[in-house]
Each structure stands twice: as structure tokens, then as C-alpha cells.
Symmetry: C2
Subunit: 197 residues, 2 copies
Amino acid sequence: MSTLEKSYHHGDLRAALIAAAIECLEAGEPFSLRAVARRAGVSSAAPYRHFADREALDSAVAVEGFKDLRKDLAAALAEGGTRARPEEAITALGVAYVAFALRRPAVFRLMFGNECDDADSERVQASKQLHEVLNQAIEPLIPGANISSLSTALWSMAHGLAFLHLDGKFRPEPSDEVAVRVQSAVAAIFALRGAPE
Amino acid sequence: MSTLEKSYHHGDLRAALIAAAIECLEAGEPFSLRAVARRAGVSSAAPYRHFADREALDSAVAVEGFKDLRKDLAAALAEGGTRARPEEAITALGVAYVAFALRRPAVFRLMFGNECDDADSERVQASKQLHEVLNQAIEPLIPGANISSLSTALWSMAHGLAFLHLDGKFRPEPSDEVAVRVQSAVAAIFALRGAPE
DNA sequence: TGCGATATGTTTGCACTGCTTACATCAGCG
DNA sequence: CGCTGATGTAAGCAGTGCAAACATATCGCA
């Protein structure tokens, strides 16, 4: 219980390891099990009492990331209160999604950008929940459309924007401009509305 | 780096290493410099005569990937000949993009999904050229739109679709269905055309 | 022709990684 | 108190990226 005492047993090593891993990632340092253990002040084999292997730690960190991303998206939705037009909510979601990716690139890469083949892990659950949140957010915004496909399209667009920014595949710009680019991309899609068929 | 890479010992080790690396990736084996060297029948330090470090080999492989992807996209565009509607060309591009990612997942991950901070490397050049090809393909299709933003939006969508499929973030489906999903996503975007403002 | 310079490949070795095995320590409970 | 299981440690394995010293084949030039 005592936070100060450094006893043989570490109060909650599992959580401490996840936190240390996130710190490592955020600090841009190489994310090795040993480095994480070192940062938690513990021997390099200790993590294996709590995680089967490195992949398991990865997944735990990814799950944290999914929770945080969901918070960000929910906040972005709530922030605007009632919006005049559905596009604004969708734009806000996209901006928040890309902002998260750019603010925490290593965690975002860990969340996605991995094989993640285990069919029913906690990690897959977390990503599915995120998917559903997005769907539910998009669904009421555009009545009468093919919701499923449109949701897929918009999520993919946000995801692609995030990754392409992350990988520097766009002309580099000040971070404020990123939001502008996302807004423009969404706007370009919705601008098709007025276009002639 | 003369144009005629007539080598003495091995023949053309540089190319052989890139080929071996691609084989490794395609075989799902761990992509280590040593494994690549082993596969090329050469000592583990030999690659350092041709590549400054592992990143350099990565980049060389990525450049190959970009070339191949460009070929695929060009073929997809040409294949349909003159198309009745611009959506069809864009859909074909998207399907080809995602198909490439799923057919060669490891190479695709290497092409993107990396930091790639070097500002003017051959690798960055290759990705920029790809970007331009996409832009030029999209540009004439939809007159009067904000081409740059629309191009970004559509590329991002294809990129996101590719990565989300790769990461198993969609319900798993037979590979034929992937094309259908991509087509549906593009269709959902263009369906907005008819929607009321 | 001969011979040194240079490009290429090898050997060896270091620090690091993920992971395993055997052992040490502590908490909880009879 | 002592037993037992959970938790942490120490030591060591194979594999990795990388560097330095060494060896060799090919080229440029006399």
C-alpha cells in the first residue's frame, strides 16, 4: 500500500509497466520490454509474471490507447453541443481522430499498424467498440444514406488522413494546418452534395 | 553507384538483397538484416557495403513497393479504357490500392507505417510521385471541385480502407468482399451528390 | 605485363533484445 | 510458527543491428 516503500513486491506492477511503456513510447525511446522494466525499477524478467510476451504488453497499451481515443472522440462530439449541420459533427470527429494520432503517434501506431490476429482479445474488443461509437455518431447525422458504407468511408478517410500525416506523406505544415486540411477534406466530400449528377 | 552495377564477388548483391528482403517479407518471416544476408548466401556484415543501415534497406524495399503500386494503379486506370462515369475510375483506383495492400501486406506496411523522416530521400520521392499520379488521375474526373482537397480525401479513404482491412478492423470477409466494401464506400460518398443540401 | 588502390565480402565482437529456467523473497493462511 | 503460492531476481540462451579489423578480387595505371 505504501507508495514510498520500495519493497520486494511492487504494489501494482502490471499497471506500472503499462504506464512505463506509454512513457517510453511518448518519449520516443525504443519500446523494449527491458527498457520498460528498467523504467519501472524492476528486473527484466519481472514483466513476464504479468504479460505472456511482448505482444501482450503491446495489446494492453493499445487497449489504453483505444480508451483514450474514445474519450477524445466523445469530447469532440459533446464539445459543440447541438450543431447546426451534421457535417460539423463529422468534421469535429475527424479532426479529433487525426489530432490524437499526431499527439500520440507511437501509441496510435501500436493500436493500429499491427497484425493483431488474435480473434477475441481485449484489444480487438476495444477497437470494435470504437468502431461502434463512430457508427452511432454518424448514423443520425445523415438520414436516408447507406449508413454502414458511409460510416466505413468516413472512418477510413479519417484513418487514412491520420496515417498519411503521421508518415509525412503530405507537405509538412504547422500543426494548426492539419485541422484545416482535415476540414477541407471532409468539406470536399460534402461539396459533392451540390454537384450535378 | 554507376549505372552498370557489374559486381565481382556476388554479381549484384544490392539487388539480390532487396529481392531477398522482399522474399522474406512475402514469406512472413521476420525481416532481419542477417536473415536477408543468409538468404542471399552472404555474410551478415556484407549488406553494410551497400546499405548504411537497416533503415536504408527498408527504404530501398519501400521504393520497389512504390514502383509496383504505381504500376498496379496505372493498370487499373487503363484497364477500363474510357469509362462512362468518373466514379468508376476512382472506384477502380481504390480497389487496386486496397488489393495491393492485402496482396503484399508486409511491403505495404513497410512503405507506410514508418517514420521516414529523411526529407529528400529516394523513398520520399517515390511516395510523392505516387501522390501526383493519384492527383492527376482524380483531377479531370470531377470538374469544378476543390481538386486538391478532394484528392486528399479520396486518397486518405483508400489508404484508411487498406490499413483497416490489413489490421482486421473490419468484420473478416472473403477477399472478394473487400472489393465490394471499397466500392460501397466510394459509392456512399458519391451518393451524397443526389442528397438534398 | 605487374602492382598498388579500391571496392567488396568475412570474421569477430559488442551491446542489446525477447524469452526461459532456476532460485529468492514475501504475503496470506492453517 | 511453517507451508504454499504469488511475485520478483539472477543468469543465460539465441538472435539482432552494427562496427572494426582483416582478407580478397577487380580495376586503373605504370
